[in-house]
Symmetry: C2
Subunit: 246 residues, 2 copies
Amino acid sequence: MAPNMVLNNYISVDCVVFGFNFEKLNVLVVERTLSDGSGEIEFSDLTLTGNHIYEDETIVEAADRILFDLTGLADIYLEQFKTFASPDRLKKENDRKWLLHDGRDPDKRIVSVGFFALLATQKVTIEWKGRNVKWMPVDEVGKLAFDHNLILEEALKALRSKLLHEPIGFELLPEKFTLSQLQKVYEIILDTTFDKRNFRKKVARMKYLIPLDEKQKGVAHKPARMYLFSREVYELTRKEILNFIV
Amino acid sequence: MAPNMVLNNYISVDCVVFGFNFEKLNVLVVERTLSDGSGEIEFSDLTLTGNHIYEDETIVEAADRILFDLTGLADIYLEQFKTFASPDRLKKENDRKWLLHDGRDPDKRIVSVGFFALLATQKVTIEWKGRNVKWMPVDEVGKLAFDHNLILEEALKALRSKLLHEPIGFELLPEKFTLSQLQKVYEIILDTTFDKRNFRKKVARMKYLIPLDEKQKGVAHKPARMYLFSREVYELTRKEILNFIV
DNA sequence: CACCTTAGTGTATTTTTTACACTTTACTTG
DNA sequence: CAAGTAAAGTGTAAAAAATACACTAAGGTG
């Protein structure tokens, strides 16, 4: 056995939970606070949400469990995007103080399998199970603990790439949504704008976006038509689009 | 600490090395043989090529090292595509007999970070370092050890998806290549055919495919013009193509 | 030098992309 | 209840890209 082989590793799953609120792309963060016993808060920081994989679980099961613990939701779009492990993942700056409290040995490596989840922010009841969880716009997230800024950055790259190549925008919206809402998803995440008429022409060709006989309610202007994504139609009509064949 | 938290894990990197020989897509496999001491071979099977991550390495460094050990090559296209870990990854069928010889505890989980590499088969001098390594056409690979058939399947999916959306086909060819060779890469991997004239019209638009004043040699027919991929031009002119904006 | 094999090329049609501005609808406010 | 306001919804012309399709050119081989 090689002398410098790594035998003891913590395997964890980190979930980058993206939520759209019709305005901005948000991410779920957990605030950790550490008291010194007198009731004073000694440290406080923000992390993405992760946990270890249990012995009898697959990676996907762990990711589903973590997402459920965090949001109370199942059947959420969830995708493995990248795995992270640097020898110094746990040795940075002021992270050590946490590790002692977590009972984790800071000299061991944590390998983290990154997932991203997509949902409409409104689906999550914050304070689920009393966890100190909150939505933050991704462009306002400051320093996160560990290497979680890196993980968030990579999750964003993966999300953008996926959004460009597969129809997943509606995963960030309620089940029924308007075309303007959908357009906004693309505009915000890809940091661009689209012409409304051209966007709608494109939608018209995507047969899996089904217009409903139902209108938006409670808005102070002409109410928009609601749409639905049909997975059945999508699976039937999907064909790979070869853009970059060279 | 949760009682069923997994603390001891082996983290390994598995490389699916794809090679194109102008005919078929191949994959590098390693033959393992186990003798009973009398010189007779007791077991023999095929695996993809993996190894553990050392303490002072990042994941990418480990992947580069594994690829170099296997092929003697550096600077090869290499991409992390998926991470695998099932509780029963090591407990299948007749795999246990191997584990005892490897000094690995079969009750521990191996988490495997999957990479795929792309190169022209001719670049690899087989029998590098005397390892029992060989190219096999991917459509002729039979049963592999562990869950390596699954890993190969997923690598193929990732390769196809990447090929559809980014210009990487030439990574499977020598530095200088002809357009017919490039077309063949796409046809074989995507299991389709393209019209030659339309394919070339598309190439003409991809400014990063540079025609050379150099012709194919040693062929019994009209020699083709050689082309080169220019990363510089690609980076300058690249723009995301929004296919699936909905 | 005839033949074999692959390289290389053009055009017409359809589809998709792009650029661009006004009318409609429902609610709100005075 | 009329006017205002805010976003919804719609068409067209021009350019670019995709598709379908068949012959000539070049070099090596026997």
